[in-house]
């Protein structure tokens, strides 16, 4: 039998709780769905489907008023734009709980926000704004990991100055007259921040992936992509024209098997060798809260001579003692990752994306990336916001604010996860990831959870099918450095209340921890 390298790595992990080559213990858990809950969830969806068919029947035969927008009279005999069954889920399931999404806000999306109150006279088909504002709702949904979403302070002042000097738009692409001195400054700063030779910035994070992967990969190349990769990565891989093979989420055996097969057997049917192999992974997976096993992937990559593309949309600024992302978290060398990609939306409070790597790579992208030639460059005040916040994190602005925020985020994450685990909820993901998915499972609880939390003045994000597998709907919390201990306690009490009300405490694992954790919690509560 082939002695796979990953078997050896797994032995290390299971034996010691450490991942090969890393210095921090790697604790991830994805507790299994209890059987009764799974059965009840399927029954729930079944009942909803039956009612869905009933309502469609009533609407077709005009017993019930139809709120859907209709095709024009003049175009009635055109081929229908949507198939009826495509929208079945939208009409009958999503519509019932639609008020949990797209909630408009009218303040900074910081730790607390002001929501616009909406009422619906016809069961979520239309919304009306009452004119009232729900003030100081605790924000557990925005990706504000380091708390840079603020309208006062050095970042906001610098961005204001930049607006006055440069204006808001650019009206040109990078290769023409859109390359401002600010962009060059930002690129040098990003390269220094990541510890790579050079970097390039783009105006939109989604577009960074979908426009640059096609520039790097083509026909005859192989892309090995994780099961749960983000839509932008999947789109970029598809547009490139390369062959795509999917490996199980964070599973090194599955990845190694694919690599082994790819090199030994070559391209399908012709058996020619592959031109290049690219492994596509993310730093933190936003729906699972899991962290990629980077040291193991780098060992595999070096053995099989593949290239690694790391998408750090959620992990840059949020992981690691110095905030430099997954590479910093595991204490590895940034040169080992061939292409480091990330976005500025989450931890830096701005918008846009970047790609960092060797100078050859970035030079090639400057010439051949579709974004540089056809798409507008980043807006100047946004660029300034990133520069100021990045300097703050690096400590170059003369204060220790960056370091304080990083420590606060890490403390908040540990505390929040520990308390939720103790209460008996099923939490997915790694102990150190600030993204905390809490399992709800049943479709009715998705809507109920969102609404009950809003009644207690806490804004949460709930996700269901198709973003997650059909029985694994969840609520997802994003911990932020701007949350104080009181805010987290308020939120946790409310979550516990709602959890009791809706019977969400499914976990069968040991709730009240062993002596060690009790001592830890005693020390923590007596810290200040």
């Amino acid at each position: 039998k082939d002695k796979l390298l990953s078997d050896h790595l797994r032995f290390q992990y299971e034996y010691k709780g450490y991942i090969f080559g890393s210095i921090t213990p790697f604790v991830e858990s994805f507790e299994e769905t209890p059987l009764l809950v799974a059965v009840l969830t399927y029954i729930g969806y079944g009942i909803l489907t039956i009612f869905g068919y009933l309502r469609d029947f009533l609407r077709d035969w005009k017993f019930e008023k139809c709120h859907l927008a209709r095709e024009r009279e003049e175009q009635k005999d055109f081929v229908p734009l949507y198939q009826d069954f495509e929208n079945f889920y939208t009409r009958n399931l999503y519509m019932r709980i639609r008020d949990n999404w797209n909630r408009p806000i009218r303040s900074v999306p910081g730790a607390k926000m002001d929501l616009v109150e909406r009422v619906t006279p016809d069961y979520n088909w239309t919304f009306e704004h009452t004119g009232k504002v729900l003030k100081d709702v605790i924000n557990m949904g925005s990706y504000n990991y380091l708390g840079f979403a603020e309208n006062t302070g050095t970042c906001a002042d610098a961005a204001s100055e930049c607006t006055v000097k440069y204006g808001v738009g650019v009206c040109s692409s990078r290769q023409e007259t859109g390359n401002l001195d600010k962009h060059e400054e930002l690129e040098k700063l990003v390269a220094r921040f990541l510890g790579v030779e050079s970097s390039m910035v783009f105006g939109m994070g989604f577009a960074t992936n979908s426009m640059n992967i096609p520039a790097l990969m083509g026909k005859g190349c192989l892309i090995l992509s994780d099961e749960l990769n983000h839509v932008s990565l999947v789109l970029g891989a598809r547009l490139s024209g390369a062959t795509i093979r999917v490996f199980k989420h964070n599973n090194m055996q599955s990845l190694e098997k694919l690599l082994w097969d790819a090199i030994v057997h070559g391209q399908p049917r012709t058996h020619r060798p592959w031109k290049k192999i690219l492994i596509l992974v993310e730093g933190i997976y936003s729906m699972e809260g899991s962290i990629v096993r980077l040291p193991e992937i780098i060992v595999l990559k070096k053995k099989y001579k593949a290239y690694l593309y790391l998408d750090e949309a959620h992990s840059i600024g949020a992981l690691g003692p110095r905030g430099r992302g997954v590479v910093d978290y595991f204490g590895l060398d940034p040169c080992d990752v061939d292409i480091m990609m990330g976005t500025f939306t989450k931890s830096f409070g701005a918008a846009g994306g970047y790609i960092g790597g060797k100078k050859d790579l970035v030079d090639y992208l400057r010439l051949h990336s579709h974004s540089a030639v056809y798409a507008t460059s980043m807006s100047p005040p946004i660029t300034q916001q990133i520069i100021t916040s990045m300097k703050c994190i690096m400590g170059e602005d003369g204060t220790t604010l960056g370091q304080e925020r990083l420590c606060q985020l890490s403390e908040n994450t540990t505390y929040f996860r520990r308390r939720l685990h103790e209460m008996g909820f099923i939490i997915y993901g790694n102990n150190d990831s600030p993204v905390v998915p809490l399992m709800l499972y049943m479709p009715a609880k998705i809507g109920a959870f969102g609404r009950e939390m809003l009644k207690r003045n806490i804004g949460t994000v709930v996700v269901g099918f198709p973003a997650t597998p059909i029985i694994e709907s969840r609520a997802r919390f994003c911990v932020s450095a701007a949350h104080t201990r009181e805010m987290l306690d308020t939120a946790l009490n409310a979550i516990s209340e709602v959890g009791d009300l809706l019977q969400l405490k499914y976990s069968r694992k040991n709730r009240h921890g062993s002596e060690g954790t009790d001592l830890f919690s005693y020390l923590e509560s007596h810290q200040d």
Binding site: E150, G167, V170, L239, F344, Y364
Partner: protein, 447 residues
């Protein structure tokens, strides 16, 4: 009770033993996956060398070092240290420098901060987004509008939301890059018709009709679309919209119109090519435009009837899975719309300037002007090509550099032509000077 005969029992016994044997025997595949031994596999893995991640780029590739613009890219632009008049940025209405727009963006920054920290579905919808969508819908006189946070992603996400595998899309040959990416992502059948050639399009539509009659059941579910641009960015001419609408009703195809260059430029009030031709806007199924040209902000929008636009709120990939537009950019766009609505005379001024530039550039020796007199972005193409693409590029680049140094006017290159952009801020003398210099450059370099 009857005992079964002996041979019966023996036969059954043999059958049971045979089944047990089959159950426990090893399965074999008809075709062995590989005849390689372990050692050979290891050798293959050792020997395999991938190509380098990126091919080498020569250090003196002309496009490698971008021109650095210091300060704002407004009417007077400082490129590589030299101050020039800007004939290159798409700042048609001169709103990049507008004080009102900057003030509104500042007040929005003070209220909301810079970023939105989330997609539209998860607390990333601000009241300014809703306001901007309403204002755009009202301005374009449609039912609804939807905003994207990046201009390139607008049409590239809109097309795959409606057109899936198996549908047919008829596209003009000169369609811009983002439309091509949208078509690629949609996996539909794409049929290109010759640029602005309605007969060619009709021929393709007739062929499709004949195909449909062979298989009417399939034809009832295949959706058909025509994708055209109002003002083409690559050739600077208009699309014949009234004929397209006639073809739409005759062959039952839907029209998607991309108006990045014509929004805020054509039409009496700047509503684009539908106003210019007087076509009923409800006849066009979807109008998409980006706010990065005339509105001098960032982002894009699609507008049309609610029946069409609402679908993108759940299936437009660039809308659902990407962070929303920063609120200060949305406020800037609202203020720019206010300015456009208050002063519709600016469109006439722009049109006059376009005609003027078009006339001034006629008769340049060696270069021909491609584009409508109304188009604010004209192309100058080489009349006689040297035969090699790199040489053509060198000549054009030499002209651009000459013009920049001698007359301080910044024009740019795009694929095999020089682009000259007209804005309302350019004065008569500046236009004359630039045209004069282009003529000199053409004479000197192209002789």
């Amino acid at each position: 009770m009857q005992f079964a005969p002996a041979y019966h029992l023996i036969l059954e016994g043999i059958l049971i033993l045979w089944i047990i044997r089959l159950l426990f025997s090893k399965t074999y595949k008809l075709q062995e996956r590989s005849d390689l031994t372990e050692k050979e596999k290891e050798e293959l893995i050792e020997e395999w060398q991938p190509e380098p991640l990126v091919p080498l780029v020569s250090k003196d590739h002309p496009s490698l070092n971008y021109d650095v613009v210091t300060g704002p890219p407004s009417h007077r632009i400082i490129v590589n240290g030299k101050e020039c008049i800007n004939f290159a940025s798409f700042n048609f209405l001169g709103l990049l420098d507008s004080e009102r727009v900057k003030l509104k963006a500042l007040s929005s920054l003070k209220k909301y901060g810079v970023g939105t920290c989330g997609p539209r579905g998860f607390y990333g919808t601000f009241d300014v987004h809703l306001e901007l969508e309403e204002r755009l819908a009202k301005f374009m006189r449609t039912e609804e509008a939807i905003i994207y946070s990046y201009g390139f992603a607008t049409i590239a996400s809109a097309i795959p939301a409606y057109s899936k595998r198996g549908d047919i899309v008829f596209v003009d040959e000169a369609a811009c890059f983002s439309i091509q990416k949208g078509l690629q992502a949609s996996r539909s059948f794409v049929k290109y018709f010759k640029h602005n050639d309605m007969e060619d399009l009709e021929r393709l539509l007739k062929e499709q009709e004949i195909e449909d009659q062979k298989n009417p059941r399939k034809a009832k579910v295949i959706r058909r679309f025509i994708v055209v641009e109002g003002l083409y960015i690559n050739t600077a001419d208009l699309c014949p919209l009234p004929e397209l609408v006639k073809l739409k009703y005759k062959y039952k195809v839907r029209i998607f119109l991309e108006e990045s260059m014509s929004f805020g430029v054509l039409g009496e009030h700047g509503r684009g090519v539908t106003e210019h031709f007087g076509v009923n806007i409800d006849d066009i199924d979807l109008i998409s435009a980006n706010m990065e040209n005339a509105l001098a902000s960032i982002g894009g929008f699609c507008c049309g009837r609610s029946f069409v636009i609402d679908h993108q709120r759940l299936s437009g990939q660039g809308y659902c899975f990407s962070a929303s537009l920063p609120p200060m950019l949305a406020s800037a766009a609202i203020e720019a719309l206010n300015i456009m609505e208050e002063d519709p005379g600016v469109f006439r001024v722009l049109r006059d300037k376009c005609k003027h530039v078009h006339k001034a550039l006629q008769g340049t020796p060696g270069l021909k002007v491609a584009g409508e007199p109304l188009a604010p972005a004209l192309h100058l193409q080489l009349e006689n090509s040297t035969g090699s693409r790199t040489n053509d590029l060198k000549l054009l680049r030499a002209i651009v550099d000459y013009v920049r140094y001698n007359s301080r006017s910044q024009i740019t290159m795009c694929v095999l032509s020089i682009r000259v952009v007209v804005t309302v801020e350019q004065t008569q003398e500046e236009i004359e000077k630039a045209a004069q210099c282009i003529r000199e450059a053409a004479v000197k370099i192209l002789k």
